[in-house]
Amino acid sequence: MDIKQDAGNVFPWDGTLTSSDFFRAAHMFSDKWRRFNTSVPPWLWVPCLKRRLASSHEVEGYLSLEKTSLFKSSEEKQDAGSLILKEESNMLENEEPFDCATLGPESDYHEINHYDFHVVYSASYKVPVLYFRAYHSDGQPLLFSEIEKGLPGLSVKFLSESKWTFITQEEHPYLNRPWYKLHPCGTSEWMKLLFSTHKSLTTNGSTIEHYLISWFSVVGQVLGLKIPLEMLNCS
């Protein structure tokens, strides 16, 4: 027997969401984001069909924000010489015709790293989980140590001090490839804490409406994602 209750109705609330709550919360979040964030790409809902034994007619999916870019400062430019074998030098030297119409490579070459973020619902913890990955501009994935270097200074401090945040590498539930994620085991506790200090949030089932915004205001800090104040202040 599966009683699905609205998050706001569970009392005292334990900080979790049901899967259908998440679906609604995700759409509310992405709508608000689009409204207040005209200068930033929107979050897109990616639906996924997963065949389940207990057939629920809900569409599963996740929120996706892809290809946000971070410039690496030029002094961090790695010497990628290790990846270039010496014997593969100038294989086209005499073959390609000389072409003056091609723009030469930039002199001050800036490495750009791209980040993808997904918000996925975790059925076992009953909370949203932030998955992310990073890669160089040619597609080579970043190592975790490189990601750490790229994170804004605040979040590294935040990570090591806070006992709620922990980054792990696990298989993405829909894409079947390793992604990094913020481990969800503390989420329900601090969501509960967050909502208990803002009594207005839990009235009249508006928990769902505010859930992802509040959640994001915390996890976003870790990765340097900003949430505009207007979104937080709206009633």
């Binding site: 040619d138 597609g139 080579q140 922990f166 490839r177």
Partner: protein, 710 residues
């Protein structure tokens, strides 16, 4: 370069850049492994790009997992539906994936490039390029997938038909400067509409007419011939992935070639269409006028072609390593590490994972205890495990010895040491496990002279093994087999843990530090003398505290050929099955405790006085001995100090060994009372038995085995 009086500078195009999503390599690996095998015929693929959407970052030609045909397709003739959308303009390409790195380097790149160039040229000539202009950006990819190391070598080429002489440019400026304000508005609106319609969003080449009323209309290229209206302004537009303010992107090259060859246009006004945050941006977009003096037209041969992508400025292929996300062993390692890290994060911040992963453990005995200890060690993150056992897997073993299966016991049975290592590797491929098939020389089991040399070899081998490890577990099933390892460990001051089983009782203990640990100066006088009064012998270790005892310290009788009267170390087949896992687990937990204790092997023994007792160590108390009884479901922690008559670890014995080496060992093995005489136990027993009449109770052998209790 003849007269260029009227001509402007050369138009320089920013090269196309590639981005290959991890998913593409995953899909290719899977395709190669499951479907293609060694078939290396070219594979049609799709690339995706979109107009530049950021003022500082160019867009790339992107390959995704869906760029490749799916495995379920019957034929590889066409990739599955990859009709683009506004963010993914689909462009056809071809992949040549070779089977070896040599054939990758040996590919005739120029010929492959020319082949693609002739396809484009043909499409221009026949008019296909006008119908479906995306094919103007056709590309080539060569690759080699090393599926053992999970590295991929690859090289993109974006064929550009060269115009000769090269195109020059009269002006190139932001569109907002070339158009009037109303034209900008109208054009932006028209572009946004074009970009939002499913029918046109992925058509990357088009032309624009602006009439006298500043009204802009976008049309398909194929309409050019029919609607050659006398528009006020005409622009040939294309999605420009490049963001640079002074250069157009690569797709313009073949576009200009088309316009020149097909329609003989010599002065072309073009629009490099770029966006900002999803909407047309006329400040970022550029308008320019190109002058083409190329004389090639229809019917001529294929023009020259360039287009191999540079790798950080050099003409060499790229290489990407994905072992981190594809290699199952590495994934297993990171999953295992995750568990331990979670433990450290949530419960035990002082957990020292690097110590655990670097400690080298020697397990003497690969039976009931050995198998369980090995598993528990791996669960704690220990990676370096050596198992020593000379037995073979018997058919009853798999039930109690958790590393073996029935198959190991067939045909006489595998050697336990080798079967155990194999089993450990199947559980966790990154374990560094080694098996040693060897018997342990034992006192009280005399050897005939012809075997002496091989026994001495075994002794030396055992000594070397102990030297090479950090922690030794004594997990055999007889007392006498524990003697030599105990002595050797005491000599080298190695962490030693003993587990021994009775029918329904067990003992797990850690040996104290060796008598000569850190070469205490106090003992120099007593080293050479054997006849000293026993009481003066140094029983302290380097810290000056009394040493904790070893397994033999409580013995009054030296280990001899065992009889069935011994409570402990009976053949494990007659013990209650629950005992071995319990004892093994405690043994490993004890080791972890020692490794985390600031004093390590010198740590004092602690006992569990009360549940509420707070201890300083996060892992809890570090006992010396744990004795448990299944019949009572009880467990006791005990402390026993070293005995100066111990046949394995007392100073006398260890110094004899140091002086006489293997000769000493041989004597101990061959003469049952040698050790007792040496340590004066014989004397002690004589004096003890002279009092026996005064004792009320019978002291039988079993009680003598008990350690001193506190």
């Amino acid at each position: 370069m003849a007269e260029h009086t009227q001509k402007g500078p050369l138009l320089q195009f920013a090269p196309m850049q590639s981005l290959v999503d991890e998913g593409f390599w995953h899909r290719l690996s899977s395709l190669k492994l499951n479907k293609l095998g060694i078939d290396d015929s070219p594979i049609p693929i799709n690339g995706f790009y979109a107009p530049c959407s950021h003022s500082q970052i160019s867009n790339h030609l992107t390959l995704l997992a869906e760029s490749l045909p799916s495995e379920s397709n019957e034929s590889l003739l066409a990739p599955d539906t990859s009709r683009g959308n506004r963010n993914k303009c689909s462009v056809p390409g071809i992949l040549y994936n070779t089977n070896t790195v040599e054939s990758f380097h040996a590919l005739d790149k120029q010929n492959l490039l020319k082949a693609e160039a002739s396809k484009i040229w043909e499409d221009i000539q026949t008019g296909n390029a006008v119908e479906d202009p995306a094919i103007l950006s056709r590309f080539l990819l060569i690759s080699f997938a090393d599926l053992k190391k999970w590295t991929f070598h690859y090289w993109f080429a974006f064929p550009a038909l060269m115009l000769d002489p090269p195109v020059t440019v009269n002006y190139l400026k932001p569109a907002s400067q070339w158009l009037s304000k109303e034209e900008v508005e109208s054009l932006s609106a028209a572009c946004n509409e074009w970009r939002n319609s499913r029918l046109t969003a992925d058509v990357p080449f088009f032309f624009i007419t602006i009439d006298a009323n500043s009204c802009a209309t976008i049309k398909h290229l194929k309409d050019w011939e029919t609607c050659q209206s006398d528009a006020y302004k005409t622009l040939f537009g294309f999605y420009d992935p490049c963001h640079l303010p002074n250069n157009p992107g690569w797709p313009l090259r073949n576009f200009l070639t088309l316009l020149s060859a097909k329609w003989n246009l010599k002065r072309v006004q073009f629009l490099c269409y770029r966006e900002n945050r999803g909407f047309a941006d006329m400040d970022l977009s550029l308008v320019g006028e190109a002058l083409i003096t190329d004389s090639q037209g229809e019917g001529d041969g294929v023009p020259n072609v360039v287009g191999w992508e540079l790798n950080k400025g050099r003409k060499i292929p790229r290489r990407i390593s994905l072992s981190q996300s594809l290699d199952p062993t590495r994934l297993a390692i990171s999953a295992a590490d995750l568990n331990l890290k979670l433990m450290r994060w949530r419960a035990l911040p002082s957990l020292n994972l690097s110590t655990l992963s670097s400690v080298k453990c020697l397990l003497v005995g690969a039976g009931t205890l050995g198998c369980q200890v090995a598993r528990m060690l791996m669960a704690w993150g220990v990676r370096k495990i050596t198992l020593l056992d000379n037995g073979r897997v018997a058919m009853s073993n798999p039930l109690r010895q958790s590393l073996y299966t029935l198959d190991d016991s067939l045909n006489g049975g595998e050697f336990k040491a080798t079967a155990a290592v194999r089993s450990l590797q199947k559980i966790f491929p990154a374990v560094e496990a080694e098996g040693v098939v060897m018997a342990i020389p034992m006192p009280g089991h005399p050897v005939p002279s012809q075997e002496e040399e091989s026994v001495l070899d075994d002794c030396r081998r055992l000594s070397d093994l102990i030297d090479a490890h950090d922690a030794v577990f004594l997990l055999t099933d007889t007392r006498e087999s524990r003697w030599l390892p105990s002595l050797l460990c005491a000599n080298t001051n190695k962490i030693t843990i003993t587990a021994a089983l009775g029918f329904d009782s067990f003992l797990v203990m850690r040996h104290g530090a060796g008598p000569f640990s850190q070469a205490s100066n106090l003992s120099t006088e007593t080293v050479t003398s054997v006849c000293d009064d026993m009481h003066k012998l140094n029983v302290n270790d380097a810290t000056g505290k009394e040493r904790l005892g070893c397994y033999f310290c409580s013995d009054v009788v030296a280990p001899t050929d065992s009889t069935s009267n011994r409570t402990l170390d009976q053949q494990c087949t007659v013990t209650r099955p629950g005992l071995a896992p319990i004892a093994s687990s405690l043994a490993v937990e004890l080791l972890v405790g020692i490794l985390h204790h600031p004093q390590g092997i010198y740590a004092e023994g602690e006992i569990n006085l009360s549940v509420s007792d707070t201890t300083e160590q996060p892992l809890g108390i570090l006992p010396h001995q744990i004795r448990g009884s299944l019949s009572q479901f009880s467990q006791m922690t005990l402390i026993g100090h070293s005995s100066s008559s111990c046949t394995a670890c007392c100073q006398t014995v260890v110094s004899e060994y140091r002086n006489k080496g293997m000769e000493f060992i041989l004597q101990a093995i061959n003469h049952p009372t040698f050790l007792e005489d040496l340590t004066g136990l014989t004397e002690l027993m004589k004096s003890a038995s002279s009092f026996s009449m005064d004792w009320d109770e019978d002291v039988d052998d079993e009680d003598d085995d008990d350690c001193v209790e506190i």
